[in-house]
C-alpha cells in the first residue's frame, strides 16, 4: 500500500520504513502568526502528541503571506504530496486555485480531510473523507440574526480581505441573517493599503458610519478587525448605538463583550478544527477507524455576555 510512496521518498526511506504504519499527517493552514491560525495549529499539534506517541508526525505548512493565497496554498498541498504525506488536512479557501491540488491528493490515494473552509460540499466534490469546521455561511447568518434580534436592523459587513471565498461567505451569510429577521445588510470592502493597520480599519469604519448614519450593526471578519471597529464606532460618537459582532475572538474581545462595547463574537472553535481533523486521519491511517458522521461542525457558536466568562479560561490556555 504505502510501499511505492516509501520507495519514492528516497531520502527518508529508511527512517519511514521503520514506522510504515504510522501516520505522517500534513496540515495546510494559515500563517502561524495569524491570531486565529495559531490556535488551529495548537489543536493540530496537540492531536499530533497522540500521533507521535504512535510513531507518526504532524507537519504544519502555512504560506509566508496572504498576497496570493489560493495559488500559494495549492503549492503547499502539492508539497505535502511530494514529502510523502500519509494523510492531508487542508482548507478549501479558493476552490478555483486549490481544487486541482486537492484532486491530486485524492488521486494519489492519500486520505484527505477538508477543514476550516469549503464545507461538506467541497469534501463531497473532491472525494475527501470528511469536513471539519464551522460553516462560514452559517457563521455570518448567526451574527446577522443575533444583531437583528437585538433590534439593530441596518447592518454592514467590513470585508478587509476581499476575494477569499470564506470571507465572502461570512458577509453573504450576515446579509442573509439580518434579512431573515426583517433588516437589511451591505458589504464594505477595504483597499489593500489598510490590511494589518488597526488605524486604517478603524478610520474606514468610522467614515462609513458617519456617511451612512442609519447603520446600527457592524459585522467584522476577524478578531483584529473587531477591535478596530469598536474604536471606529467610539470615534464616530456612536458607542452603544451601533452594535458589533465579529468572527473569532481573543482576550480583548471577551473583555469588550464583558463591558458591553461588543455585542457578540462568532466562534468557529479553531482548536477543534485542527485537533479533530488530525485525530480522524491519524485513527484512520493507523487503525482504520472511521467517523460515520459527515460534516463535523465546530461552529458557529455565539459568545455573548451570558457565556463570556466560561470562555476566558480557554484563552488563558492558548486553546481558544
Amino acid at each position: 500500500m504505502n510501499l511505492t510512496k516509501i520507495l519514492l521518498g528516497a531520502g527518508t526511506a529508511a527512517l519511514v520504513a521503520g514506522t510504515a504504519m504510522a501516520a505522517d499527517v500534513f496540515v495546510i493552514g494559515g500563517k502561524p502568526d495569524d491570531p486565529f491560525w495559531s490556535i488551529v495549529k495548537r489543536g493540530a499539534e496537540d492531536a499530533g502528541i497522540v500521533a507521535e506517541s504512535q510513531g507518526g508526525s504532524v507537519t504544519w505548512l502555512g504560506p509566508q503571506n496572504y498576497d496570493n493565497l489560493g495559488v500559494d496554498a495549492a503549492e503547499l498541498i502539492r508539497q505535502a504530496i511530494d514529502q510523502g504525506a500519509d494523510a492531508v488536512v487542508g482548507p478549501n479557501w479558493v476552490p478555483e486555485a486549490m481544487d486541482p491540488a486537492f484532486q491530486a491528493v485524492v488521486d494519489a490515494g492519500i486520505p484527505l480531510v477538508i477543514y476550516n473552509a469549503g464545507g461538506i460540499e467541497a469534501a463531497d466534490r473532491l472525494g475527501a473523507m470528511n469536513y471539519v469546521g464551522s460553516n462560514d455561511y452559517k457563521g455570518g447568518v448567526a451574527a446577522g440574526e443575533y444583531l437583528g434580534n437585538a433590534g439593530n436592523l441596518k447592518g454592514v459587513c467590513i470585508n478587509t480581505l476581499p476575494g477569499a471565498a470564506n470571507i465572502e461567505a461570512f458577509c453573504n451569510g450576515f446579509i442573509e441573517g439580518i434579512t431573515n429577521v426583517g433588516g437589511e445588510g451591505s458589504v464594505l470592502p477595504l483597499p489593500a493599503t489598510s490590511f494589518g493597520s488597526a488605524t486604517a480599519v478603524a478610520q474606514a469604519v468610522r467614515a462609513h458610519l458617519l456617511q451612512n448614519p442609519d447603520i446600527d450593526a457592524v459585522f467584522t471578519i476577524g478578531n483584529v478587525d473587531s477591535n478596530s471597529a469598536v474604536s471606529g464606532i467610539a470615534q464616530a460618537g456612536k458607542t452603544g448605538q451601533v452594535k458589533v459582532c465579529g468572527m473569532n475572538f481573543d482576550e480583548s474581545i471577551l473583555n469588550n463583550i464583558k463591558n458591553g462595547s461588543q455585542a457578540c463574537a462568532i466562534d468557529q472553535q479553531g482548536y477543534h478544527q485542527g485537533y479533530l481533523a488530525v485525530s480522524i486521519l491519524n485513527g484512520f491511517v493507523n487503525y482504520g477507524l472511521t467517523v460515520p458522521t459527515r460534516e463535523i461542525l465546530t461552529g458557529p457558536g455565539v459568545i455573548d455576555a451570558s457565556t463570556v466568562d466560561a470562555t476566558l479560561a480557554g484563552v488563558k490556555a492558548g486553546t481558544r
Binding site: 483597499p191 494589518g196 467614515a207 456617511q211 483584529v224 478596530s228 464616530a236
Partner: protein, 341 residues
C-alpha cells in the same frame, strides 16, 4: 524706477521662486485631491469628523514617512519598518502587561527595539555592499520571525493585551475630543525635528550629498557611515514610536500588523516629490504627500465611490503624482529665474 514697479517685480520674483519649488506640485496635487473628495463627500468630509479621519491616518504613516523620506533622500530604502511596528508594540505589551513592569520601561524597551533594528540595518548597509533594499527585506523577515517566536514563547499566543494607565494613555493613545488621535501632535513634533535636521542643521546638506554621490560625499569629509547608521536608527525609532502609540491606543498588540506601512510610507514620500534615486526632496513635500495619500485613502469611504475599486484609485494616484511631480520639476528647471535688476 518707481517703488511700486520694484515691489511688483520682487513680488513676481517671489512667486516665480515659489512656483519653481518642488513642493508646489505636491501642494497642488493635494488641493486637487481634496476638492475632488470634498465635492463627492460633502459636509461630513469637510467637517471635523472628516478632518480627523484623514489626519489620524496621516499621523501614523506620516511619522514613518518622515524618517523613511530622509533615508530615501540619502539614497537608501528601509522596508523593515513594517515589522518593527508590531515588534515594538509587542515589546511594550509583553514587558509592561505580561511581566508587569512600569509602563515607561515597556515604552523605552519598545523604542530600543526600533533603534537596535535600525542600527543593524545601518551597520549591514555600510559594512557590506548589499543594497539597503535587500538588507532591510532580510531584517524585516528576521524581525517578523523573532517577534512571532518570542511572543508565542513568552505569552503563549500571538496577541498580547495591555490596559495602560491614564497618564500614558493620555500622552500616547488618547482621542482628543473623541476623534483626534494624539499621535497627530507627535507627528507635528516629528515634522519640526526632521525639518530642523534636513533644512537648518548642517546634517541636511550631508544627507543630500549622501544621496547625490556617496563617494564624493565621503571624499568631502562627511562621516557617511555614521550618518547612514544614524538615519536607519531614526527610521527604526520612528516605526517603533508608531508601534508604541498603536498598542496604547488599541490596548492590544498583534503579531500580524504593520505590513501596510512599508508601501504606504514609500508612497507618501514619493507622492511628496522625493526622488526615489536620492538627493532631492523636502520635509514639506513629504508632509504634503502624506496628507494627499491619507485624503485619498479616507476620501473613498466618504465619497460613495465603489470601495471595491479603492485600491485602483490609490495606485492611479501614485502614478499620476509621480508623473506630474516629474514634469513639474522639469518645467520648473527649464525656466531660469530672471536676473534681479
Amino acid at each position: 524706477m518707481s517703488t511700486t514697479t520694484k515691489d511688483k517685480r520682487s513680488a513676481a520674483r517671489m512667486l516665480g521662486r515659489l512656483v519653481r519649488r518642488a513642493e508646489t506640485g505636491s501642494f497642488l496635487g493635494m488641493v486637487v485631491v481634496y476638492i475632488f473628495f470634498a465635492a463627492l463627500g460633502g459636509r461630513v468630509f469637510l467637517g471635523a469628523p472628516g478632518f480627523s479621519s484623514w489626519l489620524n491616518t496621516a499621523a501614523e504613516v506620516g511619522i514613518v514617512a518622515l524618517a523613511v523620506g530622509l533615508l530615501i533622500i540619502a539614497g537608501e530604502l528601509d522596508l523593515s519598518v513594517g515589522s518593527v511596528i508590531p515588534a515594538s508594540s509587542l515589546t511594550v505589551a509583553i514587558v509592561s502587561s505580561h511581566y508587569g513592569a512600569p509602563e515607561i520601561i515597556g515604552i523605552l524597551a519598545g523604542l530600543v527595539v526600533g533603534l537596535m533594528v535600525g542600527f543593524v540595518n545601518g551597520f549591514l548597509v555600510t559594512r557590506t555592499s548589499i543594497p539597503s533594499l535587500i538588507v532591510t527585506i532580510g531584517t524585516m523577515f528576521g524581525v517578523m520571525g523573532l517577534t512571532l517566536g518570542f511572543t508565542v514563547l513568552i505569552a503563549g499566543s500571538t496577541g498580547v493585551f495591555i490596559v495602560p494607565d491614564p497618564v500614558t494613555k493620555a500622552l500616547l493613545g488618547q482621542f482628543v475630543g473623541g476623534m483626534f488621535q494624539v499621535t497627530m501632535f507627535w507627528w507635528a513634533a516629528f515634522i519640526v525635528i526632521v525639518f530642523y535636521l534636513l533644512h537648518v542643521s548642517p546634517y541636511g546638506n550631508w544627507i543630500y550629498a549622501l544621496g547625490g554621490d556617496r563617494e564624493s560625499a565621503r571624499n568631502a569629509g562627511i562621516p557617511t557611515r555614521k550618518l547612514t547608521i544614524g538615519l536607519f536608527m531614526l527610521s527604526g525609532f520612528a516605526a517603533a514610536f508608531v508601534g508604541v502609540g498603536q498598542v496604547l491606543t488599541y490596548q492590544s498588540a498583534q503579531v500580524l500588523t504593520g505590513q501596510a506601512f512599508i508601501f504606504n510610507s514609500i508612497m507618501c514620500v514619493v507622492i511628496g516629490g522625493v526622488l526615489l534615486t536620492g538627493g532631492a526632496g523636502s520635509v514639506i513635500g513629504i508632509v504634503l504627500g502624506t496628507l494627499t495619500f491619507s485624503i485619498v485613502n479616507q476620501g473613498i469611504f466618504f465619497s460613495g465611490l465603489d470601495p471595491n475599486i479603492g485600491s485602483v484609485i490609490i495606485g492611479a494616484l501614485l502614478l499620476i503624482a509621480v508623473l506630474s511631480n516629474d514634469s513639474f520639476r522639469k518645467t520648473a528647471l527649464s525656466f531660469a529665474a530672471k536676473k534681479a535688476p
